[in-house]
Amino acid sequence: MAIAEAPALAVRRAPVAVPARETLGRRITRHWADYLYVLPALLVMLVVIGYPLVYTVWLSFHATPPRTGEWVFNGTQNYQDILSGPRFWRITMNTIYWTVGSTLFAFILGFGAALALHNPFRGRGVVRALLLIPWVVSAVAAAYVWRWILHSDYGLVSGMLRSWGVIDRPLVLLDSKSYVMPTLIAVNVWKEFPFVMVMLTAGLQTVPEGLLRAARIDGASTWDQFWHVTVPHLKGVILITTLLLFVGNLNSFTLVWLMTGGGPANASQLWITEIYNIAFRSLQYGMASAFSVILFIIMLALGYFYVKALTMNAPRREG
């Protein structure tokens, strides 16, 4: 569920002005009871997020041979090994391909669905609900049903194309070095376009009808209305949605892992699956941690844009 990545929004309703003379310490003591409400949440987050984060960075500077179990500081060796590894650029290209491709097509399809469902018609609610299904279905079940559909010998796709005479040999998709990535991206788009649909459906509801009517009266075509009124109005939502999708895709593991495991011959190996391999197949925690830190830095950069996009979007929300 891509929605996992959804939160947003700067804190509105600025705190009631506090007399300037009161010191921070006094303010904290005056509000001590307030912290009790957030304490459980913060504790859980701290233990399960704060600590692991620090630990990962620490671990990334250590050699962690699984045999001896003795962890030795080795400076930036892990980082050097990763960046100069034979597969690094290959999987980097795969990761970019996967992330950009999935984001782009999921966005187009989801935005299209939101637009197509914007004007009411009989049964619209049902259609909308049905389109949301892939988003809720577990990625594990999705991975297996698609593997079955795309099975080269007995799969639905291959079988139908053969019986219609489009192809005369079994269609090999997931085991083909050249088709594996586009196929995986298609499945991923199936899984996450509903998220875009939900976000933009909501966004479309905020476009003032009066503005569109005015544009129509001024003779604007459907396209002009869309491009010059709707899209500018949705800029904030579009930005947040694409960013969340992008991060979600950069992090997504299950579909690829269960459909190809990074194969054939690393043709669909991504950073995430590689990190998992290094950590839990080769048991090189230090190396995997260093790789995670690299990924984390990229996330942080994206997170910076995320927060910027949110704050840029904030003033309009007030209206």
């Binding site: 569920m1 996992a4 990545e5 959804a6 804190v11 509105r12 309703r13 506090v18 303010r27 904290i28 509000h31 009790l36 409400y37 957030v38 459980p40 949440a41 859980v44 399960v48 997020i49 600590y51 692991p52 984060l53 990962t56 399809l109 299209g112 669905a113 197509a116 609900a129 049905l130 389109l131 949301l132 299904i133 809720v136 279905v137 577990s138 594990v140 049903v145 698609w146 079955w148 559909i149 010998d153 007995y154 019986s163 199936w190 976000m199 459906t201 909501a202 966004g203 905020t206 075509s221 459907t222 950069l250 995430i272 998992y276 995670s292 990924l295 984390f296 997170g303 927060v307 929300r317």
Partner: protein, 287 residues
């Protein structure tokens, strides 16, 4: 002239819209339909070429096998199901209990550090799950929690909390503070005002939060795979993977298991999606 051009324009767009929707529906539904169709075929019928949608002799044998405790496969499967229900429910209940006060505080109180704290909760969503997998694995091992459901419940809590807090905060923001003020004037304590006035009003938000947390727990795979080793503690997603490796060629069985796994969350979501989507969009987009 202009009139007819507009008419044509409308029709072309209208047609394109219906074709697009038809395509989307087919694309969305096909895997689910095929999942079910395969699950009621015999193993032999499933690999017949060309594939057919409606098997000549449908059988629910796979379902009866999976759901009867009398045979080992069914016993195993029901065990996965039970574990998933337990882990997801525990996550949901704990998540709501923790998220409600936090969201309320973030919405109403003005303690120092409120905004940075709120942001730090949200930032969780920027982190890749795999980044936390290694340290959490080591941490859980240190505390002897590997191979326990507690390790999963704790981890899932943090997945769900940020969105839950944020969703609920949106709800509380929309409830006028005058309501509590009136209650306070009538002599209620701050907690009573919250408990008696605000909580009942935020039920839709609670429902949305709970569905979200439940589905998250139900579907999670990576941590479940890494933290749990004993077969009798595995949750559905990992159990499904185990099934796949054990009975690789039994596609009807695998599809039946996938179907059983998908039905609860899909039904739950379809029944309650209005709440959920509205809660999400009100927080995310409107405000």
């Amino acid at each position: 002239m202009a009139g007819s051009r507009r008419g044509l324009n409308f029709n072309v767009l209208g047609l394109a819209r219906w074709l697009f929707l038809a395509f989307l529906l087919a694309f969305t539904a096909l895997p689910m339909v095929w999942m079910f169709s395969t699950s009621i075929k015999t193993e032999f019928a499933a690999i017949q070429q060309p594939p057919v949608l409606f098997p000549a002799e449908p059988t629910f044998g796979q379902y009866t096998t999976l759901l009867s405790p009398a045979n080992p496969t069914g016993q195993q499967f029901l065990g996965y199901l039970k574990n998933s229900v337990w882990v997801s429910t525990a996550t949901t209940v704990l998540g709501v209990l923790i998220a409600v006060p936090a969201a309320y505080a973030f919405s109403r109180f003005s303690f120092p550090g409120r905004e940075p704290l709120f942001f730090s909760v949200l930032v969780r969503n920027m982190f890749p799950v795999v980044v936390f997998l290694i340290p959490l694995f080591i941490l859980m091992k240190f505390f002897g929690l590997i191979d326990t459901h507690l390790s999963l419940i704790l981890t899932y809590l943090t997945f769900g909390l940020p969105l839950s807090i944020w969703l609920l905060k949106g709800f509380y923001d929309n409830i006028p503070p005058e309501l509590e003020r009136a209650a306070r004037i009538d002599g209620a304590t701050r907690f009573q005002a919250f408990w008696k006035i605000i909580l009942p009003l935020s039920i839709p938000g609670l429902v949305a939060t709970a569905i979200y947390a439940f589905i998250q727990g139900w579907n999670e795979y990576v941590y479940a795979r890494t933290f749990i080793n004993s077969q009798n503690l595995m949750t559905m997603p990992v159990g499904l993977e185990k099934f796949f490796t054990e009975y690789a060629s039994n596609w009807p069985g695998l599809m039946a298991a996938s179907f059983i796994m998908s039905v609860p969350v899909v039904v739950l979501f379809l029944v309650l999606q209005r709440h959920f989507v509205r809660a999400l969009t009100e927080g995310a987009v409107k405000h």
